[in-house]
């Protein structure tokens, strides 16, 4: 049953807002879909998303958890797997990649700054180091 009350869309709207925020961060930091290798970003996001949905399907089939009753559209991808979960796991994967990418960048710059202690302002001046994308 698809209820069309405004509160049915609260969770979906929050998730779409979160995904839009990820897009803004990604576009600014150029780390995943706005990196030099956007196809790679899309494939990694797709594989990660499918992995978590698989985890959900196994857990739901085993009866470990089930869909609750609130704030959702009622649209299901599979029994007890709400449409919203697709956007949630996509958000989780994207957020993880952005966070990891930003941390790699910060750590690389700190190492660069340590190697050139005499250069003031090196924290911001050091360009991305080779291999930083790893």
């Amino acid at each position: 049953m698809i209820a069309l009350h405004w509160n049915s869309f609260v969770y979906l709207a929050l998730l779409l807002g979160a995904l839009a925020s990820m897009a803004l961060v990604d576009r600014r930091a150029r780390l995943v879909l706005w990196s030099a290798t956007p196809l790679r970003g899309a494939v990694v996001l797709a594989v990660g998303t499918l992995a978590f949905l698989g985890w959900d399907l196994v857990a739901i089939a085993a009866g470990f958890y089930s869909r609750g009753g609130a704030a959702m559209t009622g649209i299901e991808l599979a029994p007890h797997l709400p449409l919203e979960e697709l956007f949630f796991v996509l958000f989780l994967c994207w957020f993880t990649l952005l966070l990891h990418g930003l941390l790699r960048r910060v750590l690389a710059r700190r190492e660069g700054a340590r190697r050139r202690p005499a250069r003031r302002g090196a924290l911001h001046a050091v360009p991305d180091l080779p291999g930083e994308g790893r």
Partner: protein, 106 residues
């Protein structure tokens, strides 16, 4: 199998993937440090947001399938999610290194 058993299986798979990719791609201390920090941040956020999602009744657990240990409302088994994410996603990203135009890595 319990939900905890499933979490352990997922953790084991993610850890093996991360270890193999780290070996194949020659990922060093900086990558592991970033991965550990990512895991810590995600785990903290999971305790907060998983609890809020449970409080909002987005999903319900079969109590009999849980260990019964909770952080706020978050079952401890759910903490496997952020740890698996922190291991798996960066590893998949590193694995894709060179798959698309070599040297374009950013």
């Amino acid at each position: 199998m319990t939900y905890g058993g499933l979490a352990v299986v997922a953790l084991a798979v993610a850890l093996v993937v991360a270890l193999v990719v780290a070996r194949v791609r020659g990922l060093g201390a900086r990558w592991w440090a970033a991965t550990a920090l990512t895991g810590v941040v995600l785990t903290g956020l999971t305790v907060v947001f998983d609890s809020l999602m449970i409080a909002a009744d987005l999903f319900r657990y079969d109590e009999a399938a849980l260990l019964g240990v909770r952080l706020w409302l978050t079952p401890v088994e759910d903490l496997a999610w952020p740890v698996v994410a922190a291991l798996l996603l960066p590893a998949l990203w590193a694995l894709g290194d060179g798959a698309e135009r070599a040297g374009a890595d950013a």
